[in-house]
């Protein structure tokens, strides 16, 4: 799609866009999960894209543009953007028990089926998962985003966020429990858990 109201891209812009455009869906996903809403995600993505454009001269042709751009995006979020827009939003949250969904699935009778996780997941759409992640406090949502969406290791997340690896580990472990509980709450609120449970053959 051509951007209306914008001049045709010159050769350097074309080179940049050819690398940027294939990365934009995933970058949008990361920006959306990090910020928690579409308006802030657009601001972050624009900031990161403009920074990348201005720094395009330092990008080594043939190296991994996507990794380079995602580092700019997450650095921008953690070093500037988050401090300005989200300072002081940490909230205390009661911990969630281990195996939260496993236990809830057992109560629903799903553990009698051949694929209890599949049964549960079939009731959870993208919107429910997005809402559950967005409900997490910043520090848990951020590590979950970098681990689950960007597939970064504990060490890579620690480097991006400038925090100890042990902190990443504990936030991610606790964040996973909180996410499971939030997911269950969202699913209950939206009535996604109603309906027949499949029997042992997997048929409803």
């Amino acid at each position: 799609m051509v951007a209306s109201g914008s001049p045709p891209p010159d050769r350097r812009h074309q080179e940049f866009e050819a690398l940027l455009l294939p990365a934009l869906d995933a970058a949008w996903g990361t920006a959306l999960r990090l910020t928690g809403n579409a308006g802030d995600a657009e601001d972050l993505l624009q900031d990161a894209s403009l920074l990348a454009w201005r720094g395009f001269g330092s990008f080594e042709p043939g190296s991994n543009f996507r990794a380079w751009f995602f580092r700019i995006l997450t650095n921008r979020y953690f070093s500037n953007w988050r401090k300005q827009k989200r300072a002081g939003t940490t909230v205390e949250l009661e911990d969630a028990p281990e195996l939260y969904l496993y236990t809830r699935a057992e109560e629903l009778g799903l553990q009698r089926t051949p694929d209890p996780a599949g049964q549960l997941l079939s009731r959870l759409d993208v919107e429910a998962v997005e809402a559950a992640l967005a409900a997490l406090p910043d520090e848990f949502r951020e590590v979950a985003t970098l681990a689950f969406v960007q597939d970064l290791s504990y060490q890579e997340i620690a480097d991006q966020m400038s925090i100890p690896v042990g902190t990443v580990r504990s936030r991610l472990h606790r964040g996973r429990r909180l996410l499971q509980r939030a997911l269950w709450s969202v699913a209950e609120e939206r009535g996604l858990l109603r309906g027949p449970v499949a029997d042992s053959t997997g048929e409803p």
Binding site: A3, W28, E98, L99
Partner: protein, 82 residues
């Protein structure tokens, strides 16, 4: 702390998150897998957690940049000086 020769259910469970996140070293990973191979209860828990995690990952990655956001982004980029 030296590793035990084998893990019981509790010791396995304590390592389950790191195992799911592919953060255990080879020796601990092997111990977890040896326990899972002999314990139906832990295997059921592990399979459930792994499947849920994969389902969440897949759903969180299923996203497309809205067309209007793309248009605004490209417009700003093309008007930006190098």
């Amino acid at each position: 702390m030296p590793l035990p020769d084998r893990l019981d259910c509790e010791e396995t469970f304590l390592r389950l998150d790191d195992y799911l996140d592919r953060e255990l070293d080879a020796a601990e990973r092997r111990l977890v897998e040896e326990h899972l191979a002999t314990c139906d209860v832990c295997t059921a828990e592990y399979r459930f957690e792994a499947a849920v995690l994969e389902g969440l990952r897949e759903r969180l990655r299923r996203v497309r940049l809205p067309a209007e956001v793309r248009v605004r982004l490209l417009s700003r980029l093309r008007n930006a000086a190098p």
